[in-house]
């Protein structure tokens, strides 16, 4: 089945997007929410389980105090009100990822409410309002066997590992975000980026999207420009990288725009995001609301965070990422625009680490923002997942500064490192990459001038603009190893 798509900007000329983001973050506590099982990632299946998190008869949960404190800290960092009294609730559903047949969550009494997080996109500030922050337990992991590519569809049976079941999971839900216009996709990405940085600075989670400790559901609806009535929204589940958040918004804008243009209605449903194609496909229809029969969890007593505790935690909050970044920009001479570009491209930390590894701020920024982000996009991976270390980038930058590599060669070196050919110096050695010497350069310049006598004549007549094609030919002849500035000088010299 093919889906008709509108063009993103074209759709947003005529429709106003409304975003909503639900982010789940696994807390970095040592133990699970209601039992003493370890939360360490990557253990063999069903080795971090006990009667409580397996829901065996007679077991009873006891709340992990650190999980409550972490959640309160998240609420405070997001400028939320902290409840004076609230309860856990049972969410009843039948699905083998929860052995108890219910998940302990929070329903109408979340721990934190009414906050916000500010982000900047294209120099424009957007305030994303937070509706609620609540604490719940994570589910187990299912492996679907017998169908295509591990999906439920067509599977003959499923294998369940409960190591993850019961790990504290915080859900952060925004209010509908309006007024983003054409920046909807970038605002969504900037929000998740900013939230990730806030959570990391708080030290409450390792926020590794690739390991699933930070996961995002993206809600989107469109309404005709100027309308006040919200359109029908879709909820795209488990969008698990910053890049994918942006892509999921773009795709839903384009898909929903095409439907509305064709006079069709948008179906309220959950949709699945496909990393490979950047598209979404329909999941469960939400036309009929699920009935989870929430009720107050009878096995747990209420939570009443003392005001002294809350104020004590508030006093421990680190400065917000925006303050830390401003100091970083100041020290390294970056402008506000540089900063925003690096933050939203997700390379600020990488640039900082590359500077720390010895490269200049300008070169560090140039490498990540000007080249490696683009390479990551071409390779369809997150920039942080590129197979090149900050030390390697710093080394390449150093060789470029010292004139041992041209920019073209330096990029070839970076590509080879990313392709897994080896470390920087080994790659240069094995390819024999080095800047062309003066003799080699003169040979290439003379050959290029001889091959294009008409251009050589123009240069002789003082037409500086004619130098370009000859520089290009020299570059080609030397495999990018020519120093372009020196080549230009030689061309002017040898043409006359």
């Amino acid at each position: 089945m093919t889906t008709t798509l509108g063009a993103y900007d074209d759709v947003l000329d005529r429709y106003a997007p409304v975003l909503g983001l639900e982010t789940h973050v696994e807390l970095g506590t040592a133990t699970k929410l209601f039992c003493g099982c370890s939360t360490a990632f990557g253990a063999p299946p069903n080795t971090q389980v006990c009667p409580t998190c397996l829901g065996l008869p007679g077991s009873l949960p006891v709340t992990n105090e650190a999980a409550i404190e972490f959640t309160v800290k998240i609420g405070l960092a997001l400028h939320c009100e902290i409840a004076t009294w609230c309860r856990f609730a049972r969410k009843n559903y039948f699905y083998p990822d929860m052995p108890k047949d219910y998940q302990v969550s929070q329903y109408d009494e979340p721990l934190c409410t009414d906050g916000y997080l500010d982000v900047v996109v294209g120099g424009e500030a957007f305030r994303v309002e937070i509706e609620r922050v609540h604490l719940e337990e994570d589910t187990g992991k299912s492996l679907h066997v017998g169908g295509a590519t591990g999906r439920i569809h067509g599977a003959t049976h499923s294998l369940v590992d409960y190591n993850r079941a019961g790990i504290p999971l915080v859900e952060i839900v925004t209010r509908p975000v309006q007024g983003t216009g054409h920046k909807a996709a970038e605002v969504a990405r900037a929000y998740v980026t900013e939230l990730r940085d806030v959570l990391r600075d708080l030290g409450v989670s390792d926020v590794r999207m690739e390991q699933g400790s930070l996961r995002c559901d993206v809600n989107l609806s469109l309404m005709p420009a100027g309308a006040t009535q919200l359109g029908t929204r879709t909820e795209t589940k488990n969008v698990n990288s910053l890049r994918s958040v942006e892509r999921a918004v773009r795709h839903e804008v384009e898909r929903q725009g095409a439907r509305l243009d064709a006079g069709e209605r948008v179906v309220q449903e959950t949709r699945h995001f496909h990393e490979d194609s950047g598209t979404t496909s329909p999941g469960r229809s939400k036309e009929e609301a699920q009935d989870y029969r929430y009720f107050p969890e009878p096995d747990l007593v209420p939570l009443a965070p003392a005001r002294e505790l809350v104020e004590g935690l508030r006093a421990t909050l680190p400065e917000p990422p925006s303050v830390r970044r401003a100091a970083f920009a100041e020290v390294n001479g970056f402008t506000a625009i540089d900063l925003e570009q690096m933050v939203n491209a997700g390379v600020l930390d990488l640039v900082g680490e590359t500077i720390a590894a010895g490269a200049s701020p300008t070169k560090s920024k140039g490498w990540w923002l000007g080249y490696l982000v683009g390479r990551a996009n071409e390779l369809d991976v997150e920039v942080s997942e590129l197979a090149i270390t900050v030390a390697q980038v710093a080394r390449i930058s150093e060789l470029e500064d010292s004139g041992e590599l041209t920019n073209k060669l330096a990029r070839q070196v970076a590509d080879a490192v990313i392709a897994g050919e080896g470390d920087v110096d080994a790659v240069i050695e094995s390819h024999g990459w080095k800047v062309a010497g003066e003799d080699e350069l003169i040979v290439a310049v003379d050959a290029a001038l001889a091959a294009q006598p008409d251009i050589a004549a123009k240069i002789r007549d003082g037409n500086q603009g004619a130098v370009g094609p000859i520089v290009g030919a020299v570059m080609k002849a030397t495999g990018g190893a020519a120093d372009a500035t020196r080549a230009r000088e030689l061309i002017l010299e040898r043409a006359s």
Binding site: P45, N46, C50, F94, Y95, L143, I152, V160, T270, A304
Partner: protein
């Protein structure tokens, strides 16, 4: 995000539990009740609820609703790792085991 809950029982009034309600709750709880069982159980459940609802007649406005029998709050555990079950112990009650995981029948719904 929470979805809708069933409407709460009206203040103080007797809960109206119909045969259809019982059938729906049975379905949600995955209990397969026959028509005869519904005919038999629905009126009984209604009587139980009515009896419990009598409590609300003595509960004055100054008595807050309670979901717990214990007048306690903030019962916590320190974040310290305790030993877990071995995988053999954990999987001992599983109907089927494959790759050290619980093997369950094909899942017909969607992931939650």
């Amino acid at each position: 995000m929470p979805d809708t809950n069933p409407a709460p029982v009206a203040d103080g009034g007797p809960p109206a539990l119909t045969r259809d309600d019982v059938a729906r709750l049975a379905h949600l709880a995955r209990i397969d009740l026959s028509d005869a069982e519904l005919d038999h159980l629905a009126p009984q459940l209604a009587v139980i609820l009515e009896s419990v609802a009598e409590v609300s007649q003595v509960a004055a406005d100054d008595i807050p609703p309670s979901s717990h029998a214990l007048a306690m709050q903030n019962v916590f555990r320190a974040d310290e790792v305790r030993s877990c079950l071995t995988p053999q112990e954990a999987l001992a009650g599983a109907p089927q085991v494959d790759q050290q995981r619980f093997s369950v029948p094909r899942i017909l719904g969607e992931e939650q």
